[in-house]
Each structure stands twice: as C-alpha cells, then as structure tokens.
C-alpha cells in the first residue's frame, strides 16, 4: 500500500479563485492532483451543509476560497461567507469536525501561484492527519440533508 492520498474538495467562487486556479494552469504551475474543485458563483452561495456533506462523502479536507475582502464581484458575498464561517466553525467543532481539515482562504484572479501553494499546503497537512473516517460514519447514520429527485 502506497502512501495515503487525501481527497480534498474545494468550494470556490467563479470570479476570483476559479479564475486564479485558471491562471495557475495558464502559468503551468504544478500542484498536487488531490483536489476537486466545485465551482460556485460566489462564496456567499456556500451553504455549510455542503461542507458537512463533503465530509460525509469521504472528503479528508476542505478548501473554501473566494475573493479578498472588498473585491467581491457581488459586493458583499464574501463578507456573508466570512461571517457565516466564523459561526459555523464553532458549530463544526461542537459536532466533532476536525477543524484542521477545513481551510478558508482568499485567492484572487491574479494569484495563480497562491492557489498552487494553498492546495499543496492543505494536501500536506491533511496527509499527515491521515484518512478522515470518524465523521462520515456518524453522518451516514442520519442521512443526507438534501434528497436527490432525479434518477440516474
């Protein structure tokens, strides 16, 4: 068995971090391939049930990243996200989520190198923490928060 490879899910906004990650690509900066990006219009769109769901789904670490304060394409979405995050952190701590696995950052459309650094740093940190099994088990006992209505 080779070294443990963590699964990282990133929730990013379309205008800053998604574009920043595009710039990482255009600049051909290499980073760890463990991350899967979910594109949303704004960090304000991030329902924190998504984060619980991601952990329930077997993610070992989460990245939430959007525009720097003041730069939000929608004026204030990132402020909502930040405020919600401050509250939600405590709740997550209370329900037993390991906060070292949740990373909140600002990456602008010009910060291609910062995105690569962020991913590598989170992957390294989560790799040392090992697979995250405790939370998904508990989560699955209670079911998913949203029912999917369309059949495959």
């Amino acid at each position: 068995m080779s070294e443990f490879e963590p699964k990282i899910i990133a929730f990013v906004c379309n205008w800053c971090t998604y574009a920043g990650a595009d710039l990482t690509g255009t600049s051909r900066i290499k980073y760890s391939s463990n991350v899967r990006i979910i594109r949303l219009p704004c960090t304000g769109r991030i329902d924190f049930m998504l984060i619980l769901q991601a952990f329930g789904q077997g993610a070992d670490g989460i990245i939430v990243s959007g525009c720097h304060p003041g730069d939000c394409h929608y004026t204030a979405g990132n402020y909502h996200a930040r405020r919600r995050w401050m509250l939600f952190r405590r709740l997550m701590d209370f329900v037993g989520v390991d906060l070292r696995r949740v990373h909140f950052s600002w990456v602008s459309a010009a910060e291609g190198a910062k995105w690569a650094e962020l991913v590598n740093q989170v992957v390294d940190e989560v790799r040392t923490l090992g697979p995250y099994k405790a939370f998904p088990q508990r989560f699955h006992e209670n079911g998913f928060p949203v029912q999917l209505t369309v059949a495959n």
């Binding site: 990482t24 980073y31 391939s33």
Partner: protein, 663 residues
Amino acid sequence: MARIGVFICHCGENIGSTVDCAAVAKAAGELPGVVHSVDYKYMCSDPGQSMIKDAIRTQKLTGVVVGACSPRMHEPTFRRACNEAGLNPFLCEMANLREHCSWVHEKLPDTTAKAIDLVRILVEKVKRNKPLSSIKVPVTKRALVLGGGIAGIQAALDIAGAGHEVVLVERSPSIGGHMAQLSETFPTLDCSQCILTPRMVEVAQHPNITLYTYSELESLEGFIGNFKATIRKRARGVDEKLCTGCGVCTQKCPNKKIPSEFNEHLGTRPAIYVPFPQAVPNKPVIDRDRCTYYSKGKCQVCAKMCPTKAIRYDQEDELITIDIGAVVAATGFTIKGTDFFPEYGYGQYPNVITGLQFERLASASGPTLGVIRRPSDNEIPENVVFIACAGSRDSAKRLSYCSKICCMYTAKHAMLYKHKVHEGRAHVFYMDIRAGGKMYDEFVRRAIEEDQVNYIRGRVSRVFERNGKMIVKGVDTLLNGQSIEIEADLVVLATAMTAQPDAEATAQRMKISYDADHFLSEAHPKLRPVEMNTAGIFVAGACQAPKDIPETVAQASAAASKVVGLFSRSELAREPVVATVNRTAPPLFSTCVGCFLCETACPYQAIERDDIRGRDGQLIRQVAKVNQGVCQGCGTCVALCRSKAIDLQGFTNEQVFAELLAV
C-alpha cells in the same frame, strides 16, 4: 431518463499529452445516463463542434458535457453549438480538464483519474440542469468615461461621434492628463500639446459629451446596460456659468508660491489657479488647503477683482446621479515617488529629477520656457546622465515589470537635450533597449548615431554629490563590468510607471479585478483585451498596464467600439443565473416561511415581498419573490434560506449536492 453526451478534447497536446483522453472518454461512457462519449483533437474547431451537433440530433441528447479548457474560455462557444443543434444552451456544462488538470499536474495515472472525476462531477450536474432562457434587460445608451487623459478623451470622442451620450469624469481641474505635460512625443517629435489640445477642445464643445472636471466617481451600482453612477463634483469655489476664464483672479492672487502639480513641482502657481494655459475647461479652481481666505478668513482679493462676480467661497460638493449603460475605465497611471530611490538621491538632491520633470523643462510652456536648466541654480547643464529602468524590472523593489515607455522617452530626452544644448554631453545607463514599434528602433539609433548620445550598458549603484557635481557611479557591462564614474550636472531618472495610488479603491468601487501591481485586469489577455470580467465595463490606457500614446489611443478606440457595439442593441440577453423562490399548490403556496433573511442579505435589493391573496382578496401570507432583472445571481440568499425555498438557477442545491456526491 437522461441521455448525456460527453466530448473530451485533446486541445492538441495541451490536454492530450498529460491526460489519457481516450481512457477518460471510455470511463465517461460507462457512467449511468451517458449514452455517447467520444474524444477528439480540437473540440472547439468546426469539425469538433459539428460532432457535438450531430450527436445531439442523432442521439437525442438531453445534456452535454465538454471536457476541455476552462468554461471561462469556451463555455459560450459550446453553448452556442448546442443551441444551434436545438438543445437548450444551459444544458451544456464544461469540465475543466486543461487549466485545472493537464496544465497543473504531471503525466501520471492520478491525473487521468482526476480528469475522469471532473467529467463525472459535471455529468451528475448536467443531469439536473433545467432548460433556461436568457433574461432580457434594457440598455441605457449613455457611457461613463472615467479619466480625462488621452485614453478617456479618445474613448469619449469615439463614442460621442457614434451618436451616443458620454459623461466624462476627470479628477483634476482640467482634462489632458499626462500627455498635456509632455514636451514632444516619440518617434516623430510631434509637439504633444499641439496634437492634444485640439482634441481637448473638441471634447468640451461636443454636443454629446457632458464634462465633469474636478469630479470623482463616488459609487457605481447596477449591471451592464443599467448602471447608476454617482459623481462627486467637488466645489471649485467658482461659478462656472459666470466665469469667463479672463484670468484676473489668478494674476491678483497674493499667494503665488505654491508648487505647481502640472509642472511637477518645478514651477509655482497661485492658490486660485488654472493648471495650465490651454486647460479645458479654462475655469480656475480654489485650492482650499492653501487659500488664505479659508485658513485666516481674510483676503478675498479674487472675489473683489472678478469682473463677473463668479467667486463662490461657500460652494459645496455636489452629488450627481446618472443612469449609465457602459463604463470605460481610463484612470491612468502615476510614477514612483521620491522615497523610492534613496540610492539615486531623488528627493535629496534638486538636480536629480524624474523623466516627467524633464518633460516640463523641455516644454516650451514649462517653467523654463523650454530651456534646459538644472533646478538648483538655473544653469544650463553640460553633462546629463539618464538612468533607464529606475525602479522597473527590479524584483528587489517589488516591481518586476517593464514600464515599456522609458527606453523610448529616454532616447527622446537625450535627443531633445542634444538639440537644445549642442555642446552638451548626454549619457544613458540602460539594461536593455526595448524599442519594438513602428520607427522606434530607428529613433533610438538616431539618438546614438546622429546625436551622439553615449549609451552605457550597465546599472547605476549610487548617485551622490561632490564639489557641486552629481557623481553617478555605475558599471559598464560591455567593458567586463568595469566601474565608471560620471560627473553630471543633471541626473534624469526614467522612473517606473505604476498604478494610481488609489487604483485598488477605484477598482473595488466598480467591482472589477486588478492584479498584484494594482493595474486593472482585462477579461482575457489575448482575446478580450479591453473588457473587464464585469460585463459592461471596459478599460483603456495605462490603468491596465504601462503603455505609450499610440497603444493607449488604439485601446481607447477599441473600448469605444465595444461600447458602441453594446449600444447598437436596445435590449441585452443576460445569463439566467438568478435566484427563484419556489411556488407550490395551496394551502402552502411556497415553502418560504416569510422570514425575509434573504431580503437583508441581498446586496442588490432584488428580494421583494409577494402578497398571496385568496379569491376574496384577503391576504393569506407574504412570501419572498426575486426581481430577476435586478438579481445578479450570487446565491447568498440561497445559502441563508432556512426552508430551502429559494434556489439559484444554474447552481441549484440539487445540482451542487449531486456534484458533491459524484466526487
């Protein structure tokens, strides 16, 4: 039952050399709901798009996933192709296999595995996409041009010339910008003011242009075609309608020793002043920080002398709100200040000046009337050293970029000096000579060969004073790094061009992106060079990156043509990524409980209250409703909604959770 088609693009070698595209297509073909999965060298090409269209028709696809470049690049292309084949364009999604996968990872099995994951995520999303139709919004055919330098002037004249109204806002008392300060322009040595001032006058006289000088953009609300701009018209202290521009006030003002901004502090101006004689508008401004009346409550000489009684000491700033359809940002640049060059002694020795100051010395309308005199004693300098790349291309000073214009203007300065002081000697320290452009290299050769300017390839380590001379210490790298000293009478620094000090705040006010150096970021460096990522906002001139006058003018005309293109339509189709509140059968009517958290969260005031009434007209309950013309689709309300009654089209809860389940 979903019938999804998956199309994997090799992008030539860009994706194909790192990701096993055939394996991705094969794996995608096995996903539930996928009925068609192929790979091809260039999906965006005509044959590639035809493959998609044919498959939509023959396979009766209900959704399409294109695994290719970033959706920010080609999503419109593929959505258009789907539309042409009769599939609703919003049933097409892109998996970003290039920028987010092949370009950032090595050629390893994990990379192909990631590509398969990315495709699977989007397949699960697209299964839940709903056909949407674009939202039509009206267009206000009036443009706001921000900045009255040559970029803003050109853009305003072009838009106005096409028959549309333009509001031109300039921060300083006159339009003209940096170009008005220049003596002559490279490579033709045209007199800058001679070619600029007729344009300035044209702006002032154009019936379609409303000019606000000494004014700033206070706020910008709204979206493409429907902005609302608030302009702060600062108090000039002069009634512009009464003032005839006779100039008596500026002549009589007793407080004349104020360093002139226009002359780069080499000359002086009074407290009530017109920045330069050809200023447009030719109406003075009272500098309230320096006027004796404001500090001591006495004087009022200008008011007593004014023949039309136009002086208004109690005038206040005025806020003007205007409906705007498009914005051209042409806010210009600044140059690095005194504290940036301690090693060159700028700010410490009066005879170390910037290139812009040299322009004023060389200008016929400048403080020395075009005679090159050094600031310390007004003597004509016999030895002048020009230092190129002062600040630019210096990562130690956190300015890694090239300021682009300095090679050319340094050659011009040296040439102008030699033309004016025949027996003088001009030396240029340079790193490289970058003279790409029509007749540019010829111009530099002319300076070296005809005008005998001494070009020294090497950098300067220090400039200091010894016996009344400026000693320039540097190396000549073409002489094996031999160190050299030149005794100079005047040192001219080709200082780095930088973004305006408040560029960040200006960008934030307009909600547009900017880069690490605070220059505005265009939507695409090659294919959308004058558009911002925020629709309806365009860019021109040096606020985007250092550039010279011809480039600035070209970009300004390009931005103007984009604006005119936008104004050629009376309504716009906007992406239907907007929030909706669900409606259900009575007695519930909606799962909205009427808490209106969304109302407080919405940055656009797009949430309205909808009264649900019975047949007798009696109010049953009040639920939220989204004004889709105003909603911009950030989704903040969706994340807040406790009863999941509000959802964002294109990024619904169902879609996003399905994406997550597929990771």
